[in-house]
Symmetry: C2
Subunit: 217 residues, 2 copies
């Protein structure tokens, strides 16, 4: 029996779900490496070890494949962050664990992050929209946490505090720092999360304690 005959036989034995996962894994890797426009279905097929006709039949053309990558990676990222937050802990510890879960995801699935944060936005259109939905969900998670904590501690009436604005700022800061991290990967996820906590949470605590920064003069 030659290799050519054997290979399709092996291929048929794998369940479709496994094949699809192999294809998506390969696609995320190739899209991350080359960007959407330069990525080729040939390379995805080669990396996945799945024939091009099978890719088209299972997951569609390049555009569909990219959309499915984004949806899967966005779902994974949110799931990782949600799983990281331990709701029985105080809000600062919840935030701390959420941030670490986020950075651990970026470290472990660097290609996912690249596709989500860099490729999807630069390709635009429906892809960018999916990422906007993801960001909104992430902001909602943080906002719920911060608004609950802020309200409980009487920050509702403090002009220098806005829970939603803090959530938006923190998500922007965390993303920006994740991008920076791609070029400074010697820093640990704990250190990154600690930097953010030491800016954002110390400031939050000061407000709770009635300290306020106001422009001089």
């Amino acid at each position: 029996m030659t290799e050519e005959v054997k290979a399709p036989g092996r291929a048929r034995r794998l369940p479709r779900a496994v094949r699809e996962r192999q294809i998506l894994d390969a696609a995320v890797e190739v899209f991350s490496r080359h960007g959407y426009h330069s990525a080729s279905m040939d390379e995805i097929s080669e990396v996945a070890g799945v024939s091009k006709p099978m890719i088209y039949s299972y997951l569609g053309a390049k555009e569909d494949l990219f959309a499915k990558c984004i949806r899967r990676e966005a779902g994974r990222l949110l799931e990782a962050v949600r799983a990281g937050i331990r709701t029985e802990l105080p809000p600062d510890m919840q935030l701390w664990h959420g941030l670490r879960a986020f950075y651990r995801f970026v470290a472990e699935y660097r290609d996912s992050w690249t596709v989500l944060h860099r490729q999807a936005l630069t390709v635009g259109g429906q892809f960018a929209d999916e990422v906007t939905v993801l960001r909104t969900k992430a902001i909602d998670i943080v906002a719920t946490l911060v608004v609950t904590a802020g309200t409980k501690q009487g920050l509702g009436q403090v002009a220098e505090f806005s829970g939603p604005a803090l959530a938006v700022s923190l998500v922007g800061a965390a993303e920006s720092l994740a991008d920076w991290w791609l070029d400074h990967s010697d820093v640990s996820d704990g250190v990154l999360a600690s930097w953010l906590m030491n800016l954002v949470w110390l400031g939050f605590n000061d407000l709770v304690e009635g300290q306020v920064w106001r422009p001089a003069g």
Copy 2:
């Protein structure tokens, strides 16, 4: 003398620089409204009150026009922020003025910000690269300010502090909040800047004073 004869006569009397400015102003407006791909040269020509052949002759095709918009708006934004920072003031006040200048720019040139932050990234390629250069310059401005202040106050050795990471975080937070602001424009630039200062600068001051946030347990 008919209108048709009079109009080209008037057109010729305007210096090229003025015409180019009219075209770029119109292009920024139209790109901001429709995005790069859907924007039409017909509409830009109509808004600018300049004929399409003249646009092509002065500034090139749509791609060139978009690139020139991004370059001009990026330059303007940086210039506005640099002009806002008054280097004779203490670092917190410099940051405060820089943030306000940034938000005033976003408020006054909302279309510029949309083109820079949303359109350029979603179109990708060289356009996204220009925006990355702009971000890097903005981060450098903040980093210089924060690292100088941090070093002067002995934060160089504090593990919970990193000047470059703070700069990256703050720029990400400021951008994210600017985006949020587009849908919440009843908030003043001073209030936005104050929210950021009250998170970031209070935290920074705490670190200076030896307070540190550490995970419990």
